[in-house]
Amino acid sequence: MAKLTIDGKELEFPDGTSLFDACREARGEALPHFCYHPDLSIAGVCRLCQVEVEGMPKLTIACNTTVRDGMVVHTRSEKVEKAGRQILEMHLINHPVDCPICDQAGECGLQDQYMEFGLYDAKVEMTDKCHKAKAEVIGPQVILDKERCVLCSRCVRFCNEITGTGELGIFNRGDRAEIGTPPGVELDNAYSMNTIDICPVGALTSRDFRFQKRVWMLKMTHAVCPGCATGCNVRVDHEAGRIYRLKPRYNPDVNGRWMCDRGRMTYKAVHDERRLIQPQSKGDGDVPWSEVTAELGTLMGKVGLIVGSPHQTLEEMFLLKKLAAKLGCTSVYGGLAGADTREGDDLLLDADRTPNRRGLALTGLNEIDAAALAAAIAGTEGTILVHGGNPAADSAVSEALAAHGQVVYLGQVANETAAVAEVLLPVATWAEKAGIFVNRQGRLQGFAQAIGRAGAVREDWRVLSELLAGAGDEAAPGSLKAVRELMGSELSPGIDLNKLPARGFVPGGEN
């Protein structure tokens, strides 16, 4: 252990601790910095995190210094603050004043540092600044402004060290140096958009988000990516019922600080123009809930087959199983076996492109393969209830359903299954409801509702619970909280499901 004094405070740290981390703990906030990143190698090029260490002739960068017993460190001395201002000024000396048109405004490292300790008047003429290429598309998702770049090299290190794809380099030298891809190379790896997150300024920005919304207008909700079984923790940035982007949320046990590009784009499905907004009854078109309830009552009188989906939440799977039991329906399945399976990679993307297949196991639901399902449909007497997924994407299943008729579908979009349904009940996407997903680690992760539901879209759990009540269950839960309490008492996960910790919970595992 090393005992050191930082800004007059005596603290102890394990040997080998970076002085940068030690200072963060002592100060309650990180030292000014651009190039340092906890998941990347040390570059030491921005020079902002310089501190005064007694006994050393010059200021030293904290990121490349290890704590030593007896060190006396000053992070806010006059010498350090003066150097900080000077170095910040060096960063800004060629930086274009693009703030009015730059997407990074409001979450920009230069703006933040300047407001924190800069606040000086520029001494240099605008006309003399270095000019470099602006708005250069360097990949399917990323656009580069070379003038704004402060050459912190985070993006280059990310592509070398995290994805191992090495698309980016820093070319030329001196103030002609610029980040970019070499001729014939695109920044197109599956994690390219993480470079946008780590770029402290508006040099690397998202093509998808470009000019869409000022960041200070966005509200932020914590959720879990629905794209695959990894369950990266995300932050949903939205305003007035519209999602503008997803960002990864730090979870050292699941995704670290990253997520894949594909996952970031899952928000688009929420605003798919084919979304089901009103209940629909074949023959009658759109009908209000009050009218469809009657027809539903008849159909739900005899239910012969129930199919769920691994895209649904744990609460919904639990209620579906309960409903099946109450209806006396023994042919109940969690979904189509092997559906939505592609290739995974070594980083985060899982081959299982559903967020909650493990939830099926937890709630005791089995999957069925398409051929067997088609046969089962043919032999079913009574209504077929489909919750989520899109089993009719398989042609055999689609034919069987069409031939059978009497299909009630709780769905989100006008897809193949919706096309063969008798009654369509519009339900929420992951962003419009709260719930729990179980990821590939068996980790229960809760997510909050980000945006409101359009039209007559309802939460799935509520629809299922009402169906449950309609089937005669007097204890059908009346709130999501109650669903979780009931689920907790029946599944015994070892934790209060209404109080899941932010990092998630693995029943029976190390938490």
Binding site: T165, G166, G169, P182, G184, E186
Partner: protein
């Protein structure tokens, strides 16, 4: 990722250069560390490294394209475009400046009809500035190919350019008469 650029002329090296590169790769401790001498081998034959040469290096040394272009763009002696037949690099650093480099440059510009940084339309002469060439007490100097022409004045410039125009390369000051 590291895809070759489409539609480029086929890249080929002479057997001598290929053999030289193989020897380099064998001697250097790692493949990546052989990058600079390999670039020199290609440059010695072709006077620059074309896109095909970059792809060759990527494959041979198992480095990324970004790395190769970083190195090519960082060092002033590496070129990615074909060069003029005679590239005259005149030192414009302090000692040569004091000893009259400006006049030497002006004379070259006058005689060649181009400014510093340009190439003659017939592709025969390129005129460039260079930082200190390690001949400060012998200045002003110009580098042509491997050698230096030193102690320049306007008369010597005229002499050099006339010779080059005729197709003869006068003996350089650094090309000393040595005992075998």
């Amino acid at each position: 990722m590291n895809r070759p650029v489409e539609n480029q002329a086929a890249f080929a090296l002479s057997p001598e250069t290929t053999a030289r590169i193989d020897r380099i790769v064998e001697r250097y401790p790692t493949k990546a560390s052989a990058l600079m001498p390999c670039i020199w081998a290609i440059t010695d034959e072709l006077n620059h490294v074309p896109p095909g040469g970059v792809d060759f290096l990527v494959a041979k040394l198992e480095v990324t394209k970004a790395r190769v272009y970083e190195v090519l763009s960082f060092y002033t002696m590496y070129r990615t475009e074909p060069q003029a037949e005679h590239v005259l690099q005149v030192c414009h650093n302090i000692s040569c400046h004091i000893m009259g480099a400006r006049n030497v440059i002006a004379q070259m510009e006058k005689r060649l009809g181009i400014r510093m940084g340009e190439t003659t339309p017939d592709g025969k002469f390129g005129l460039e500035g260079a930082e200190c060439l390690g001949a400060c007490g012998h200045g002003p100097v110009v580098q042509l190919g491997k050698h230096l022409y030193e102690y320049l004045d306007t008369a010597k410039v005229d002499d050099l350019l006339e010779n080059l125009r005729k197709g003869t390369v006068p003996r350089a000051d650094t090309d000393r008469e040595l005992e075998a």
